[in-house]
Point group: C2
Chain length 353, copies 2
Amino acid sequence: MRRSTPKKKHATLADIAASAGVTPMTVSRVVNGNGYVSAETREKVLSAVSALNYRRNGLARGLKRQRTDTIGLVLGDIANPFAAELARAVREVMSARGYNVFICVSEHSAREDIAAFESLADHRVDGCIVATRANKLGNDRLAEMIEGGIPVVLIGRDFRHPNADLIAADNLRGGYDATAHLISLGHKNIGFIGVTPTSGVGLRRYHGYLEAMREHGLKVDERLIVGRADDGDQWPGYSTESMGYEGMKKLLALRKRPTAVFARNDFTAVGAMSAVKEAGLKIPGDIAIVGYDDVPLAAHTTPPLTTVRQPTREQGRIAAEALLRRIESAETPAREERVMACELVVRASTVAE
Amino acid sequence: MRRSTPKKKHATLADIAASAGVTPMTVSRVVNGNGYVSAETREKVLSAVSALNYRRNGLARGLKRQRTDTIGLVLGDIANPFAAELARAVREVMSARGYNVFICVSEHSAREDIAAFESLADHRVDGCIVATRANKLGNDRLAEMIEGGIPVVLIGRDFRHPNADLIAADNLRGGYDATAHLISLGHKNIGFIGVTPTSGVGLRRYHGYLEAMREHGLKVDERLIVGRADDGDQWPGYSTESMGYEGMKKLLALRKRPTAVFARNDFTAVGAMSAVKEAGLKIPGDIAIVGYDDVPLAAHTTPPLTTVRQPTREQGRIAAEALLRRIESAETPAREERVMACELVVRASTVAE
DNA sequence: CCTTTTCCGGTTAACGTTAACAGACTCTGT
DNA sequence: ACAGAGTCTGTTAACGTTAACCGGAAAAGG
């Protein structure tokens, strides 16, 4: 218990300067590698730096320089492979240009969404990429921050602002294509797992499903739309697989069960597949299944999952580049909106081999 | 093209003060809700705050207060559900105590590992939770930072330092139990997917496997250890499912193929299962499979996956609390090390129902 | 009535860094 | 020898915030 020691303080430029017998300014020049410093002084300074374990204070530096070389990335759900891939792409571009990336997670809650970009803004990140789903409160707050002068780029968030670029996958079309694929295979009774009829408002892929059904003259039975509401503020212990599993159970219990199902994402689809197999039914013979995202897992399910691939890396890369443009140009550039095509990947969960 | 506007600047306390006809100090009192301010002036100030869209400058604030109310979390792989769950638990504890959490991702690269906690340290986070795998360079750098005075707690990183707590799951025991389970079912020829014989040095669950084999008098054939090296600095396009798939392919091609396989994690196990089924073999009849982590998916594979559950939330929570202790106590507390038990979850991939 | 407390707001001086400028000294070329 | 350029280091003044302190007015207590 007595094994505690007094706390250490961080060394400052002044400490190094005193120890090396120079002024703080000279030390600053050495650690930043700019300005003229003789080899001899540099040596003295560097050895003092490592002796005192000096690290520059990013707060003071950022305050003085009016930039932090740091950007923020707000993600809704860190467990999602899509988010992970996005983060990787953003980071690649950003670190090549000398920026750090700090990630904040909102857990799909409006309150946390706001808290996340407020804390990033307070720490004066040079810009922000926001990849969370739209919500009223968050949108309002975001608009204020943008108007407050923070460069912002949105990924897949259904919110438009004249000073924020928007990069998105064409999930409306993706959902349409997935559904049209099932229709072209002769299915008429097609379910959707992953939203409630009311909560799906913000989900483009769900609208794609509705549109495809309507355009092909198929009626959408509300009993075929199953899932949990997700627009509330809490989503405790959310597991997308179990939503798929439970959703499919509900569909299988219907008097007239669907012959095909479109799931909001691949993990939901996997849960649904598990329920189908448990019921002793065949995929795709009895029920065909389509997922969304083409996560690595999708190629390894039994049977392999038909899904819709979105260009994740490209979205991340383009968003990062758009943000850099906003950060580094003297004037705030004109708004850019990019909608990227998705690609249906047909595997054995809809078409037997 | 011409649709660009000049950049905005952030409003400062002084701007608000001027606009409200008070001093900056009074504004500070209002926005921080401390000190005495009359209702009338508070009103004036607040309306100026919202009119000018003021947000306090966290850099200046942090610089002056010598704390940022922010902690850093360094993760190796954001796509891992384990990491996601950990992050959630850490965030829960931390936001309840008024701290923000910034996440940095190292992509399992030593260079990025170092860059991550250096950038966090430079931004003067109040403390850091590091959940990346150990590596020589990173450990050295980390030791320097700890000695530089930053409170650090490690999760599952095989690195000891007198001023850093260590929370870990007992993956050695978990790996042992998983392997012993297979042995108790009569398997003798048991493969491991996910490391090369040389690269697995840092992976406790792999050592558990080796230990169980040795203790039960079974010899470990090096050809039964398959996987990619992962201790290099690059790991491009890494997909854990495909490692499992390819690893299993190699094992199936052996003249004397294993009757059971232990995979380093559940996704690797899923990839392996996919290769087994593709070869027309039965699970667990021809080959039994055990994974690790008990991700939500594991309950929904076909057959459901036997795996080892680690207490993820608890690790996150305990780490967060340990960090808070380090941050908020005046003296640096004595080192704490917690090893948490894992639990074998038996499902149908090893024992037919 | 006087003393003490509570309320309200201003003043000053940092926190650690760097941009801008200034001064001195050393070359180089003519 | 001298202008001009290049090299090296120091001084000053912010960047935006808040801790610490100060003083006056009003309220409370005796």
